[in-house]
């Protein structure tokens, strides 16, 4: 890092042999430390404090905030979060791969248009888009009306406020985060390698498993990490589409902070969730990606 000269001396000064101090790093580093590092430490400190009678924080050092997470009630919520995030990631991968492949193989001038279409949903606020899904999924919503009109069902499906609704919302919300890194990896893939495999007697499925998939692994890993992490901590989607019954880790934490006003417990839950994300990502990188990322 230090061999990159970021500081600007006088234009005519000869390059100095010693690396100059990277001054330009200070503003972003400062922002990160003040607005991310310090609050994180505060949350860590609070997680070892106790809840006051009226919701305040009492600085009596304790670990009960952590031990009480072992309650099956909370473990079930965390397990559900992990499960929903994993299924979301898997569905995004299965749906995103063909999409990214088609975009990467499209004529150059179409690639930009297709990528633009993938990104277009970001133009609208995520909250608004999630409300839109409520209209689609509710009992007398668009989806049920369409299915009834087509005669595929005879009475409305109960979709909203179920795990299915949460899953649909998460896949919808995070699919672009899967498609973009996959596109980047597949776009770099040399077309002649696919043809070479085909020429060497590989059937289309073998071309995919032996050549396309291994060579797009960095994109697969990046996409999975980018989908899995926000899915695990999702708050808006399960709150609006899952209702009270489908709580995920994010909702539990929000509930502790704002509902029950138990900041210390909310803080410890946050740290356990973070540790879970970190562990899952590290495990994934080690198991699947370490080699291909080098």
């Amino acid at each position: 890092m230090t061999d990159i000269r970021l500081g600007g001396g006088p234009a005519d000064a000869p390059p100095k042999p010693t690396p100059s101090f990277p001054w330009l790093v200070i503003p972003p580093a400062g922002v990160l430390i003040v607005l991310f590092g310090v609050p994180l430490l505060l949350v860590l400190a609070v997680s070892f404090a106790s809840r006051g009678t009226y919701g305040g924080i009492e600085w009596a050092l304790t670990v009960t905030n952590y031990t009480s997470i072992a309650d099956p009630l909370y473990l079930r919520i965390f397990w559900r979060s992990l499960w929903l995030a994993a299924v979301t990631t898997a569905i995004c991968l299965v749906m995103g791969f063909p999409l990214a492949y088609v975009i990467a193989r499209a004529p150059r001038r179409w690639q930009g248009v297709l990528l633009f279409l993938v990104i277009i949903p970001f133009w609208t606020n995520f909250l608004v888009r999630t409300y839109a899904w409520m209209f689609i999924l509710r009992t007398e919503g668009l989806l049920n009306q369409a299915l009834l009109a087509l005669g595929l069902i005879h009475e409305p499906l109960n979709l909203l406020f179920t795990d299915w609704a949460v899953l649909i919302g998460l896949v919808y919300g995070y699919l672009p985060f899967m498609v973009l890194p996959l596109y980047a990896a597949l776009e770099r893939l040399d077309r002649s390698l696919v043809e070479a495999a085909w020429d060497l007697y590989a059937k289309p499925a073998q071309v995919f498993t032996r050549v396309v998939l291994p060579l797009s692994k960095p994109g697969v890993i990046a996409g999975c990490v980018l989908v899995f992490i926000p899915s695990l901590g999702a708050y808006v989607t399960p709150d609006l589409l899952g209702g009270a019954r489908t709580m995920m880790g994010g909702n539990l934490i929000q509930h502790q902070y704002l509902g029950v006003r138990d900041w210390p417990f909310g803080s410890s839950l946050s740290f356990v969730l973070m540790a879970g994300v970190l562990a899952a990502v590290l495990y994934y990188l080690r198991a699947g990606g370490a080699r291909s990322l080098t």
Binding site: A197, W198, D199, L200, A202, K203, S292
Partner: protein, 364 residues
């Protein structure tokens, strides 16, 4: 049809890419075990032809027959051909041995058979010691040999090569030309090689086809094509050729006289289909010309005075740019065997001479 003797047959094959005709009613017969080159400039349809043979593309009309089998609707993975890609297309995530084993694995051969065949193929290209390397750790020449081994290990009926030596430097290319030809003779497989390099095609091929704008201009042995080009385009493409535009004055037996403005009467061998009065092109190769300080014909039927515009010493020969009486510029390559005394310098006058039989008459 019987496939005996013929390895590949194209019948009236046409392939369009949008509005352009990449391959235009191409008919070719490639014999079993021969080294056949398809020579042409870029855009001549030679790469399209190779992709049609490999099966990556299907012809719009016409038939392709490989080893007696019609190839219509047969995908690349079920064709008895293998392609050596221009950029080699080695799988970067597999070792050298992994690359070479790929085709055999896809064919479903037992592991016990794959191992020895991979070793054999790598020994053939002298790369057995590097079988555990990744392609990125090899030089360009080595990568090329891996690409050859990866294709030949499958013992295809036909090996297709797309500009096989294009990415190599000059020195390596000359070595590989000899090596590739020797390899082909050893394995006895039909090689179909696409190239834009006439020297490469002439050196390696048993026979070659010259393509231009999707059309076949000429097929024959390197000697046929070099000595008797069928058109002015072939003559120019096969090697630097000098030419004179003129009109046939008369034909007597095998002998034609041609009137060229600004120079006079030129003698050339007559060709069928060219009658008196026809506009023609007389072509002659730079190495067939003679330069002399002496005006006497010395048995050369064609001779006239020229001016030396430039003389370039090139070791075994001197290359001259000559200005003709009609102000055309010709090239001549004269051996230096006779010593420096006989060489000409820029600005000197000289007499240019050649025998009738050395020239080729082409209808214009």
């Amino acid at each position: 049809m019987d496939g005996n003797g013929n390895s590949v047959e194209l019948r009236e094959v046409t392939k369009r890419h949008g509005a352009t005709v990449a391959v235009d009613r191409l008919s070719l017969t490639i014999r079993k075990g021969e080294f056949f080159s398809i020579l042409g400039p870029s855009g001549s349809g030679k790469t399209s032809t190779l992709r049609l043979l490999a099966g990556f593309e299907q012809p719009d009309s016409g038939e392709i027959i490989i080893e007696g089998r019609h190839m219509e609707g047969v995908p690349p993975n079920r064709r008895p051909v293998n392609l050596v890609f221009q950029n080699y297309a080695l799988f970067p995530h597999m070792t050298v041995a992994g690359n070479v084993a790929f085709g055999l694995e896809m064919k479903g051969l037992p592991q016990a058979e794959i191992g020895p065949r991979v070793t054999e193929a790598l020994e053939m290209v002298r790369l057995a010691a590097k079988q555990d390397r990744l392609p990125a750790q090899l030089s360009g020449g080595e990568q090329q040999r891996v690409a050859l081994a990866r294709a030949l290990v499958n013992r295809p009926a036909v090996l297709l090569l797309d500009e096989p030596l294009g990415a190599l430097d000059k020195q390596l290319r000359l070595e590989m030309e000899v090596e590739l030809k020797a390899l082909q003779e050893r394995v006895g497989i039909t090689f179909v090689c696409v190239t834009h390099d006439q020297e490469e095609a002439l050196t390696m091929s048993d026979r070659l086809a010259v393509l231009h704008q999707g059309r076949l201009l000429q097929v024959g042995t390197p000697e046929d094509i070099y000595q008797v080009p069928a058109s002015a385009f072939v003559a120019n493409f096969i090697g630097v050729s000098n030419s004179l535009c003129g009109r046939v004055e008369g034909i007597v037996g095998q002998h034609a006289t041609v009137v060229v403005d600004g120079i006079g009467v030129i003698h050339a061998p007559a060709v069928p289909g060219v009658a008196a009065g026809a506009p023609v092109l007389v072509t002659i190769r730079p190495e067939r010309l003679h330069l002399s300080r002496d005006q006497a014909p010395d048995g050369y039927q064609n001779h006239f005075a020229v001016r030396v515009a430039k003389a370039i010493y090139a070791g075994n020969e001197t290359q001259y740019l000559l200005t003709l009486p009609n102000n055309q510029t010709w090239k001549a390559r004269i051996p230096n065997a006779d010593g420096a005394a006989k060489r000409f310098h820029a600005g000197e006058s000289a007499y240019l001479k050649w025998r009738t039989a050395e020239a080729v008459l082409l209808p214009e």
